[in-house]
């Protein structure tokens, strides 16, 4: 069978020996139909509805009648708080890439080897990822409770002589780092597991060959391991960025975007305008903008990484 690479990187094979070319396509369509219907109904249709509502001043109750065109979008980009939400989003993305992923990689390199108890360590580091976001948020709310009689962290700090108990989630300067710690704690396991799996796919022979050539550990990691993991790293980065753009439950439960919007992210901003202020037209506009940002990023990112794979 001949293989024809397509523009978007997908490879489609033509079954030129099939006596029933039409039936072949029909089978394909039929199998895809349930998924297609499901996605159209639950994904595409709501997005289109959302886009529709974003052009109205709509309270969320009753029909949408007050058409205002792109007013919502204009208001959106002029709002300081939305810009702050975007900034916070970028903060999370940048620090996730700078701290979370390297940490996960380090853990993977250490635990990926044949060290005693590696199954235990892997389980322990992966466990936070298994917890639901809601449980995680509530757990950390208790840890971060500023009252030394009730908060785990402040209770410990209280006994250390030169440290003062802080209001972790109530101080506008500390709240984003505090939330970031929780995010790292939760997702490091996932990335670590991804890297461990990737490491296991590296053939032993290459490592042994390198050792024979007299390479030391840092060189091994830098010149052999990491380049061979590039596919896994690309996936990991993609998941991390997309996840950071969409983080919601953790932030909402811990701080609701507060205090005074210090920990605002796009999703909490959207939620507040939609379901607390009942300005659903505006909330829909925020949702559309979020979608466009994520979509743009996805397309650009996948284009870049796919092209590289081609040349490889």
């Amino acid at each position: 069978m001949k293989r024809y690479p397509r523009k978007n990187g997908q490879i489609r094979s033509l079954n030129i020996h099939s006596p029933w070319p039409l039936k072949d396509n029909l089978t394909i369509v039929l199998f895809l139909l349930p998924a297609f219907l499901f996605l159209s109904l639950f994904l595409v249709y709501p997005i289109l509805r959302s886009a529709y509502y974003s052009l109205y001043n709509w309270k969320g109750m009753g029909p949408a009648v007050d058409f205002i065109g792109l007013e919502n979008f204009k208001r959106l980009f002029a709002d300081q708080i939305f810009l702050k939400a975007v900034k916070n989003g970028i903060f999370i993305i940048v620090f996730s890439l700078a701290i979370q992923l390297p940490l996960a990689m380090a853990l993977a390199l250490i635990i990926g080897r044949d060290i005693p108890g590696r199954a235990f360590f892997r389980a322990v580091f992966f466990m936070p990822y298994v917890l639901s976001e809601v449980i995680t948020a509530i757990m950390w709310l208790i840890i971060y409770n500023p009252n030394p009689n009730r908060g785990f962290l402040n209770a410990i700090i209280n006994v250390i002589p030169f440290l003062k108990p802080q209001a972790w989630l109530a101080d506008t300067r500390l709240v984003m780092p505090a939330i970031f710690v929780v995010l790292t704690w939760k997702y490091i396991g996932l990335h670590m597991l991804l890297y461990i799996t990737g490491l296991q796919n590296i053939p032993r022979e290459i490592e042994e060959a390198a050792l024979i050539d007299g390479v030391n550990n840092p060189q091994m990691v830098a010149y052999i391991t990491l380049p061979l993991l590039s596919g896994t790293i690309k996936t990991s980065v993609y998941l991390s960025i997309l996840g950071s753009l969409q983080v919601y439950a953790l932030v909402w439960i811990m701080t609701r975007g507060g205090p005074v919007n210090a920990s605002e992210v796009m999703s909490t901003y959207m939620y507040r305008y939609s379901f607390v202020r009942f300005e659903l037209g505006y909330g829909s506009a925020v949702a559309i903008v979020m979608l466009l940002i994520a979509l743009t990023f996805s397309i650009i990112y996948l284009r870049l990484t796919h092209r590289e794979e081609y040349l490889a």
Partner: protein, 425 residues
């Protein structure tokens, strides 16, 4: 052949008798969906027992109760309203939010029921009015109280404060004394935003009086009028003395109640439900007990308001659009004098039905009830009076004042901008 005929006849008889029974045999089974927010054990048990009493007397009615915490209830109600499938009977604070629900056609008009058999006259007029819109009624109140300062008498005595403060300067003095005694003067859950809004709204009530608010809300005036800016300035005076607990900006109402309930703070500006919440959130389950005292929000020297003016609100139930007839009957049942007395006994409600005040056993709640009754100007919480969009902005703006990220002028402007947009109709 005979078998077939026999089977057909049998099916026919079964079908016919089924139809017969559904049409005439006894009243049909009716289900009432009731959503309330009384998560405190004693309170939710009272509702449960009232429902059971009603169901015993009316076997064809089934009452399904859903209990949710305040914020969760608001969130869940929102999603349910989108689909138009509102519960048959649910918690409401009246005011602007209820008005929007009426505009969206989600509530049942019960004016005619109230006019029958003198049901209307059993209620205190002012309280009932909160659940009316454009002359039609959509629900009834069960509780109407006011916001005031709940304080710990023991801690006040420890700090050497002999009498609760009556003026703003006395209030700041009391805070100084509490701090000197090593006591956290005020418990505040500003993370939820509405507890802090009480302070600003009361200052506006004291400084501007009824006139200032009526003018601003009716759009003859503005929320940037001097009274509102001055309220912000006075609030900053308070905030700079740092009277709140560590991390107050992120704390919830539950945290606030926990502090007071465990005797870790001097005072708490809160509504009539406070004692129950202090009890529920305390480690020993007893709350403040007889250590609790209550005083009205201090008068601001030179303000246009009156020391008896009250900020407050109440709780009530509204009826959903598709509710069965029996719902209103059940509502009448739980609004009876006996029910109200029972509610007053456990501190669930400050009664609104005439004659039920005798049920109030808590001396502090009696003070609250008296205070609400003698108020010349009674202001419903801003975030209930105004439509949700603007009410939400009030809460956000005040949080900015507490955090020091907004000046009094900016906060007032934020509120004015939202009011201009939402109230223009």
């Amino acid at each position: 052949m005979k078998k077939v005929i026999f089977l057909i006849l049998l099916t026919g008889i079964i079908l016919l008798s089924g139809i017969w029974f559904t049409l005439c045999g006894g009243a049909e089974q009716v289900t009432i969906n009731w959503w309330h927010i009384q998560t405190e054990t004693e309170h939710r048990n009272l509702w449960q027992s009232l429902a059971e009493q009603y169901m015993a007397k009316n076997p064809n009615v089934k009452i399904e109760i859903t209990v949710m915490e305040n914020e969760n209830f608001k969130a869940k109600l929102t999603t349910v309203m989108q689909s138009g499938e509102v519960p048959d009977l649910f918690q409401s604070w009246g005011g602007g939010t209820m008005n929007q629900q009426v505009e969206a056609g989600l509530l049942k008009d019960i004016t005619s029921y109230l006019d029958k058999d003198g049901w209307r006259e059993t209620f205190s007029e002012g309280a009932l009015g909160v659940y009316a819109y454009k002359g039609r009624n959509y629900g009834v109140p069960r509780d109407m109280g006011m916001v005031g300062f709940w304080y710990n008498k023991d801690l006040f005595a420890k700090a050497g404060i002999s009498n609760p403060p009556a003026t703003w300067s006395e209030f700041l003095e009391a805070i100084k004394k509490l701090k000197a005694a090593g006591i956290t003067p005020i418990a505040l859950g500003e993370g939820d935003k509405w507890p802090g809004a009480f302070y600003w709204e009361y200052l506006a009530v004291r400084i501007g009086g009824e006139e200032a608010f009526i003018k601003a809300a009716s759009r003859e005036g503005s929320f940037t009028d001097p009274a509102f800016v001055a309220a912000g300035e006075k609030l900053l005076e308070l905030v700079t003395t740092e009277p709140f607990q560590l991390g107050f900006l992120g704390a919830t109402w539950a945290d606030e109640a926990t502090l007071m309930g465990n005797g870790e703070a001097g005072m708490d500006l809160m509504g009539q439900w406070a004692p129950g919440s202090f009890r529920e959130n305390s480690i020993d389950g007893k709350g403040l007990g007889d250590k609790a005292g209550w005083f009205k929000f201090p008068m601001v020297e030179g303000g246009a308001g009156h020391p008896n003016d009250a900020l407050g609100g109440g709780n009530g139930f509204v009826v959903g659009k598709n509710a069965p007839e029996e719902t209103v009957d059940f509502l009448k049942f739980i609004s009876s004098v006996e029910s109200q007395i029972a509610q007053a006994n456990i501190g669930l409600s400050v009664p609104v039905v005439n004659g039920a005040e005798v049920g109030l056993t808590d001396p502090m709640l009696k003070l609250v009830q008296k205070g609400a009754a003698e108020a010349g100007y009674f202001q419903l919480y801003y975030d209930q009076y105004l439509p949700p969009a603007t009410g939400s902005v009030v809460n956000d703006a005040v949080q900015g004042l507490f955090a020091g990220t907004l000046t009094p002028q900016q906060a007032a402007q934020m509120i004015e901008d939202s009011a201009a947009r939402e109230l223009k109709k």
